[in-house]
Structure formats: structure tokens, C-alpha cells
Subunit: 237 residues, 2 copies
DNA sequence: ATACTGTTGTTTGTTAACAACAATCCTTTG
DNA sequence: CAAAGGATTGTTGTTAACAAACAACAGTAT
């Protein structure tokens, strides 16, 4: 099959395996493909109208992101989540964010700080109705991505990309369970993050580290409480 | 080309892309392929007597390990190292090892502790002549791998695998420069690591964290001093 | 009924050929 | 002579067909 520009021209040289990767990631994160479900290379290839090559590559990349698991000669499955995964992911996240804010205090440029502020500004303009769980999570991930970017630490950012996908997947999972969100958390979102920008700007490294640590701990507590009331493992087999 | 069992039967189901990955990794870590050098898929494929598929897969895996860099439509190069890379790698390592020892204090089994001890015992039996820089580094990586394993934290271990490869590559690079090793470090290797096992056994988490931190800092200082006297970047283009 | 074995079907692993892209060199033109 | 442009060459991206591994099942012997 020839690459067809479906409607809009592809701006950058996006290669087929990129498209498949993004499509598949979206499908997983939007919960179109449920955790535990089997993904056959050929099936997906036919469905997307491409050959198995790019699909194979996409699956490998998503395995690295932790969104799918691959077993030799047995194929790929959408990753499923247990409480252990939450502990692992959040302990990694905590360590990574501390490192990130440390480097951000040293390396953040004015543009980096502006980028973070801009996200907060956009959030502040949302009406209460617009502040859905999903929306908040999106802003949250976006903000923290900006934080990691401001650290200017390539390897750290690559690790964050992986974590980000997994955290996203976890959040999607908690959305699907209809436990009501902790209302006390909503109004604090803006101020909490604004404080973080502030300590980075003033380069209070020590304070920054403790601040981000408790920030992440709070996130863990929230997601963890949601999770414990749901099933332990969403994969059937 | 058909898979030929070269001499001995392959114990586990090793697939062709695994073989290529390992071969290529060895070639890079043994400095057969120098940093910055170009790797063409076809060339390597012909050289190894396989098709481009497995080679492509191997390159992708090694990119994730940080041993090669891939640019779209431009192919792969063996990664080259600068002082920035050292800072990045060691700051990551520090954060990861602290997390590892924290989890090890909680999760290490008797078998885990034995495994670490066993490595130290093997090292103690080496004669002074055998304690080359290369040998010491191998033992060091092995010990720290055992430490990470004892944390029983899958994601942490996957991150360590990546770091391990990169540290290995860095060490190889410092070996190739003929700066003489810090003699004071040699006799301390055994006792230093034994202390680490001890704090894990006695679950002194707090003490363990500070201990491992200074341990890694020491490693950074050593490698860093070696590096600064050599060229900043080993890649020519 | 149960354990074993051969068979069949499905899926992944591998290959070789084709298409698209990037870099280089050479030609053409100002 | 320099710069723009176009063919050329080498490399990566993609495809489709083939080979090998696994899983499920049926049939047979005990």
C-alpha cells in the first residue's frame, strides 16, 4: 500500500511506523483496546491498511513505553495493571521528578519558565464545568512534561516519556471506574503547581525537592485510593 | 539464510534478532566498533549472514540501550560520549541506585544477599595480577546488577539495564585512554561493597541510601577525572 | 476415561525485492 | 567562477511471501 496523505498533508517526515505507533497508543490510552487484550500483527496491519513491518516496529516501541507486553513467538498484549505496578511507577516517578527539579533549578531558561506558566494560565481560564478529571490529568501531564523539559537532561526525559505513558494509562483506568474524585484536590491544582514554578525560578533546590516529593506523594495517594476500590488486575488472561 | 546451530544446540529459544543484538552489543562494548562510526543495515546484515530484518530490530534495541543513535532515513551510528553524557548517566544512576537500595532493604531475600556475597567472594579470590581495570569493572557491574535484582522492581531493573550498558561503554572508553588507575581505590573495592550488603541485610534504609550515594559519587569522580584528560568527544562526525 | 501423539491452523520470525528518501556529484546557467 | 538544479547512487522504509514455532484438537492406545 502506498502512503496516502489522508486529507491533510503530513507536516514533518512522518514515517508509517510513527503513524501506527501513535494510532495504537491512542487506541490504548483511549481505552479502545482494553488491558490484557491480544494484538495480532497481521490483524492490526490489515485493519490499518499497512504491512506487518511498521506494526511490528510500533509494538516494539510501545513495549518500551510499557503499554504492551511482548512474548517471543506468542505476540503482544495490551499491558494490564496491578497495585504493584502503581507502586513501581510512582516510586520511579518520585525519584525522576526530584532529579528533574534539581536539574531544572540549574538549567531552566526564562522560556522554560514561561512555558510552565503558560500552561497554568490556560488552566486558570477553564470554567468549573470544563475541569473534568480527564482535563485535569491532561494539564497535569503537560505541566510535568514542561518541568522535565526544563531540566535539559536527555536521558531523564526519555525515561519520563515512558513513565508518562504509563501514568496516563493508569489515570485512564481510574477514570473508567466511576469513583468520585476528591473534590478538595481540584482548587489546589493551580496554586500547587505555581509554587513549583516559583521555587525553580528562585533556584531553591532543597525546597524544590521536598515540595515536588510531597506533590507526587499526593498524586500517588489519590490514584492509589481509586485503584484499591476497583479490581486488582484488569487482565482476564 | 537458515538458522544453523553452530556447533552446539541452542539451549533457549534464541531468535536471530537476539543473536544479532548480542553480537553487535559485544562489538560496541569491546570497542571493535568505535563511537561515531556508521552502521549500515545492509552491510551488517551481509557480514552476519542474515537479512536486514533482525539487524533492524537489533539496532532499535541498542538505540533504547543508548549504545547507538538512529536518525530517520539516515541510519545508525555508534553512540559517542561527552562530559554531558557522564553527568546525565551518573545523575540517573545515583537516583536509581538510591531507589534500588531502598527497595532492596524491603524486598531482598536471603538468596539475593547470598548472590551478592558470592560475587564479593569470587572477587576476593582474585590475585593482584588478575585485578585489572577491566576485571574490576566487570565485577562492579555484576555486583550492582545483583543489587538491583534484589530490589525486585521490574521497571527499575529495565532502567538499570539501559544504564548498565551505557556505563559499560563509558568504562571501556576510559580503559582505552591509558591514564593510570587510582591505586587507592583497588583495595577498598571489596570492603566498600561488603558494607553495602550489610546495611541491606540489617535493613538500615536511611544509612543505606547515604552509603550508596557516596559510593556512586566516588565512581563518578573516578571516571570523570579520567575523562577530562581525554578528548571531549570521540565522534569525528 | 486418560495420556500420548500426530495433525492442522494460526501467529510470529525471516527473507528478498521494491519504493521512497537523502546525499553527492555533475551539469547547466547566471 | 559560483550557484542552482537535476540525475545518480547508496541507504532506509515498506511490502509480500515463505519458514518456523506454538496452540488446539482429534484420534489412538492403554
Amino acid at each position: 500500500m502506498v502512503v496516502k496523505s489522508n486529507g491533510l498533508a503530513l507536516a514533518s517526515r512522518r514515517v508509517l511506523s510513527d503513524v501506527v505507533t501513535d494510532d495504537l497508543r491512542d487506541a490504548i490510552l483511549s481505552h479502545d483496546l482494553e488491558p490484557g487484550i491480544r494484538i495480532a500483527e497481521d490483524g492490526l496491519a490489515i485493519q490499518l491498511g499497512v504491512s506487518r513491518g511498521p506494526v511490528r516496529e510500533a509494538l516494539m516501541r510501545l513495549e518500551r513505553e510499557g503499554l504492551v507486553t511482548i512474548e517471543r513467538h506468542k505476540g503482544a498484549r495490551v499491558a494490564s495493571w496491578t497495585e504493584t505496578d502503581i507502586e513501581e511507577i510512582y516510586s520511579m516517578r518520585s525519584a525522576m521528578e526530584i532529579l528533574a527539579i534539581e536539574w531544572a533549578c540549574k538549567n531552566a531558561t526564562a522560556a522554560d519558565l514561561d512555558a510552565m506558566e503558560e500552561i497554568l494560565t490556560r488552566f486558570s481560564k477553564l470554567t468549573d464545568k470544563q475541569r473534568t478529571r480527564k482535563k485535569i490529568s491532561q494539564f497535569d501531564l503537560e505541566f510535568h512534561s514542561a518541568l522535565f523539559a526544563s531540566a535539559h537532561h536527555d536521558r531523564l526525559n526519555r525515561t519520563w516519556e515512558v513513565l508518562r505513558s504509563q501514568i496516563h494509562a493508569l489515570l485512564v483506568y481510574t477514570w473508567s471506574s466511576d469513583i468520585k474524585i476528591n473534590k478538595a484536590y481540584l482548587p489546589a491544582w493551580g496554586p500547587d503547581h505555581r509554587k513549583i514554578v516559583e521555587v525553580i525560578r528562585t533556584k531553591q533546590t532543597k525546597k524544590a525537592k521536598t515540595l515536588i516529593n510531597s506533590h507526587i506523594e499526593g498524586g500517588l495517594a489519590r490514584i492509589s485510593s481509586h485503584f484499591k476500590e476497583g479490581p486488582k488486575d484488569i487482565s482476564s488472561k
